[in-house]
Symmetry: C2
Subunit: 317 residues, 2 copies
Amino acid sequence: MTSSSWEEFFAVHLPPTDFEDNRSLLKEFCERHDQYGNKIVLVTSGGTTVPLEHNTVRFVDNFSAGTRGSASAEYFLEQGYAVIFMHRQKSLEPFTRHFSGQKLLDMLDIQERGPNTTITVKPDSVDVLAPVLLRYKAAHAAGAILYVSFTTVSEYFWLLRAACECLANLGPRAVLYLAAAVSDFYIPKDKVPTHKMQSGSGAPVIQLHLVPKMLAPLVNLWVPEAYVVSFKLETDENLLIPKARAALDKYKHKMVVANLLQTRHHRVILVSPEASQEIVLTREEVHAGVDIESAIVGEIVRLHAHHADAAPAPAPR
Amino acid sequence: MTSSSWEEFFAVHLPPTDFEDNRSLLKEFCERHDQYGNKIVLVTSGGTTVPLEHNTVRFVDNFSAGTRGSASAEYFLEQGYAVIFMHRQKSLEPFTRHFSGQKLLDMLDIQERGPNTTITVKPDSVDVLAPVLLRYKAAHAAGAILYVSFTTVSEYFWLLRAACECLANLGPRAVLYLAAAVSDFYIPKDKVPTHKMQSGSGAPVIQLHLVPKMLAPLVNLWVPEAYVVSFKLETDENLLIPKARAALDKYKHKMVVANLLQTRHHRVILVSPEASQEIVLTREEVHAGVDIESAIVGEIVRLHAHHADAAPAPAPR
């Protein structure tokens, strides 16, 4: 029932196999944008898994399609931020989130002329696709977005710490927008069986352990000057604000975006140490396809500007 | 620790909300193809989830991207079968499986001319996209594929039984290709908490229960004349064939496709009551991008033809 410390977690769980590659990518990305004086946001998105076996057939998953994170990344790009999009593999991504694979194939017309076959987007789909495609191409051409992905909670933590190490140099110009649904529970490495659990031996009992709260070292040690936003997803309205306030008291970061599972696409509450502010989409906005993330990001960008301006000028390097 | 009976499972777990819609679609699809004397295969694909809360934030998931099922569906279509593609929501689908969203966007060129803006597929991507697009369009135009989707193990079982009820009319012309990774374990409805588990109350213990083996009523009662293929995924080579044989002995169906998690993309063993046959891709085939599902489906189609021919002629209706 014990929750291990964060140092213990990193000591016991080895880095993922592609960790050094990702660390290089993060380093290059942050240094490049730091040079230009850009603001960088780390957007985490999607759920983490907790493997129940070493050869993973089964795992405990946290629900998250990546809707919030992938939409938010687009709005941060629009606001001129460089974006590290750290997401669960196969979860929704900025730009492509607007179109399922079938929807894209259905947009295409093929003109078969042997070696001169051409494929074009149907005229009535161009209106829908063109604006997204232009923003996608602009972001990629500018090198304004870096994609890194995780699956397990351990991979998530390794990447998170590596990203923080790079972002620390940006001081108050960095935003951490921690929208990923990270498991509160896990099974320590030495308690995970090697092979698939066999149903013949009866139904298993899974003993979960508490995951260390990484927000504590993140705020205090890893990126002490950054503007850190965490998320709180609950299903019980009565717990929502109290739990958001408790998190702010405990971790001393800048904001909790609090939301209920049932209404999260049209209502959130931005809770900061000083105030709390509700954002609600009207029925008309919902019907018109307005993303609530546009408003959330807009408000965070405004508050982040205050934060960055109020910070003492950086020492010359 | 008790495993409930399948009748009990359906009595306790209500049908999913879109169940009647899906049942109508299945009925219409089967009747239409039955009329033309077509063969129909039900391909199940992707993993099922077991919710740990009613307002689902967390669930236990079975690992499966849907690679096997989505590829196999394409090869069954190629062999002239009508395909019911019953898949986990967001898992891979036939045709679109070849291209991620980003890969598709990267294939596109945009020519901005205001209201006459056009979007075309880059010439060097046409070669890759055209054959898939043509097969996709042909299958859809012919109404040869029906997509139905599930998420939880309970939704899966409801859909499976409904599909069987429609397929029963086809007698031996139906194939069931049960490639989905169905959970062996679940938490009965009355044992699932309503709200999100709180980490403050310590780490929870999850008591899983055994899922009833639906293959028994499926083979004996629901589609007794169909050609039924199940799948066995193990991580331990020593268990592979014994467990496949044990399943055939117990359920009396036609074939188990046995595979190891580690090598499943280039090696499977088709185990039938009479024989077992290994299919292995050569290194060259793997490099050339050959799908092992092409060989699996080819062999099953051959055996199914024997099965259908050997069956007594249907009584006139």
